[in-house]
Amino acid sequence: MEKLLLLGDEAIAQGAIDAGMSGIYGYPGTPSTEIIEYVQRSKTAQERNIHRKWSANEKTAAEAALGMSYAGKRSMCTMKHVGLNVAADCFMNSAITGANGGTIVTVADDPSMHSSQNEQDSRIYGKFAMIPIFEPSNQQECYDMTFHAFEISEKYQIPIMMRLTTRLSHSRSGVATKDMIAENELKLPEDKRQFVLLPAIARRRYKMLLDNQVKFETESENSPFNKFIGGSDKSKGIIACGIAYNYLMENYTDSTCPFPVLKVSQYPLPRKMVEKITSECKEILVLEEGAPMIEEMLKGYLGDCLNIRGRLDGTLPRDGELNPNLVLQAINGEKVEMNLIPEEVKGRPPQFCKGCGHIDAYNAIKEVMADYGDGHVLSDIGCYTLAALPPFQSINSCVDMGASITMAKGAADSGLFPVIATIGDSTFTHSGMTGLLDAVIEGTNIVVMILDNSTTGMTGGQDSHALDRLVSICEGLGVEKDHITRVNPIKQNHEALVELIRKEIAYNGVSVIIPTRECMQTLKRKLKKK
């Protein structure tokens, strides 16, 4: 038995490799990125030639992983929580097709929005799709559960959701590993129509999914990861999910928790265990990271007849991540004494790196847009979103990947003029291309600026699908050649870029400007390697 020091993300990756995974697919997104990065560094993955390249977006990743499962091999796709919105079409339907080779959808949620647009709870998607969900509480469980999840996936021919949250994804601890097992052989599904979701087949498959619910519940009852821990003080029972279990136990390191505790790390909820704790205890406190999903399930619509405490009744905050102090306070009302932060301490928001090409692009945009006032630049998600902060304060939207171009289109359709969309190269190939096609077809009057730093910068510099392809993609989508321009965003070219933006604003139709200069961080790394 070997013991490795691994992030939660890395423990999932190592677990998947050791459990015979043949391919991993995904699109970067904090806090999920390190899963694939670990596989990309792994010697074993190299030797076994495990698929480990990034995908264009989460939907293509989920579909490729499902395709590998179709062919009988074990696969995984990874994403951050908002990535699941992109992959949702495949995700929901894959619950109906089911799996052939074991397949896991690993989603890392970001409660408190450390680096995200929202804090949606992926467990709700898992419940929506009616598939088993695993929610590890520590790094060892990340590793062990990956093995178990592949087994359950194959046993019931069902995709599995693995749900992580930031603190586990990005926290390191010792993990004991197991012997590596062989990959599956190529093997097509026995029923060659399993994956054909024509209504007649889909109806049959859906019934199977419904029938399987009881079995999934039984798996949860017998799961090594769900635990009922007795306690003598039945005035309160505590249901602790995933990492919330650690926050609970943190308060009893030198004593034992007097209350009965149900640790939940595998869903659907283990019904018998829930019935045991709710019937034994006067009051139930639900600790869950993210949304009050279980709390709502227990409470139902009518609410307080059951004495359920949690995020809905104010015992815990409705939003944001949990911590040991919040949990203790929910148990006994005790507030910890703590020092205050002196007023000398000022905020230190993230900023553009020195020398970043985005700075030059926005300098030009700012100068041009001074003539029109604030409100004409729709943007997207990436390092270039930092232009929302001082000193630029130049952009007016950041919603979801690709929305800059399409929102610009809608605004232009409404009569706003001029409208500029700023979008990163990786975001463009993730979800910007289809929106550009919409604009081309209607000849919408917008200027699209693809800020090309030749990498996926925000998430740490992963390869970008857009590399050296942007011009040909835009041409292929039908943008007029004369209105596709690459420029090098450097100080000397400032005037030229300003002129170019003015000229393209004057053109009534779709223009694409591509300021292209490599990201300072990836450049530094390359120079270091040399």
């Binding site: 450390h114 102090n325 932060i341 002196p342």
Partner: protein, 194 residues
């Protein structure tokens, strides 16, 4: 034995190298470890912190509770104050004195020092200068570990092993410089407390 440490600074200052050295030493000493790192957004010149926990018993939470940290180890003075809510009653603040000024409203340095000096248990160290004197300006982080070394509950030799583990690839010269930085930090802290 249990030590809960908030490591902090500004993105790009390399607080993770501190975590790696102490982490190696801790695991080498047979201790449990949990270390919540920062990734993503905050790395772009923003504030960064890492929750670093070592213990001879199983550790549950990845986060240190408020009021529970035995030490705040900071490579930047204003940042050391940001995490005071985590500090326990008898906890130590050990911080580099060199401001990293990348914001327009950075406070007067003297005001920051005043706040640090108000704390009963603190070490304010000119780690950048010390590293420069040794001839290895980039070893500031190792000076900081040295300054913290007597509060870590880990043998000093194990920290040296940690440095060898990390810098070994870069040659003996690098290892020696960093060990020197470690020792200089320790010497400073010993004097500071007299």
């Amino acid at each position: 034995m249990k030590k809960d440490i908030i490591l902090c600074g500004v993105g790009g200052q390399g607080i993770l190298s501190i975590a790696t050295v102490i982490g190696y030493a801790a695991v080498d000493s047979g201790l449990y470890l949990k270390q919540a790192e920062v990734h993503g957004m905050s790395q772009r010149g923003g504030d960064v912190q890492s929750h670093f926990r070592i213990s001879d018993k199983e550790i549950f939470s990845d986060l240190i509770p408020f009021g529970g940290a035995d030490m705040i180890l900071s490579v930047e003075p204003m940042e050391s104050l940001r995490y005071l809510p985590y500090l326990s009653k008898n906890g130590w603040v050990i911080t580099n004195d060199k401001p990293f000024n990348n914001i327009v409203n950075y406070p007067e340095t003297e005001d920051v020092y005043k706040q640090i000096k108000k704390l009963d248990n603190h070490i304010l160290i000119n780690a950048d200068d010390i590293a420069k004197e040794i001839g290895s300006p980039r070893s500031m982080n190792m000076v900081m570990i040295g300054a913290a070394s007597s509060f870590l509950g880990i043998e000093f030799d194990k920290l040296i092993e940690g440095i060898k583990f990390i810098f070994g690839r870069k040659g003996e010269e690098m290892v020696n410089l960093n060990v020197k930085a470690l020792e200089a930090g320790k010497a400073f802290a010993e004097k500071f407390n007299k």
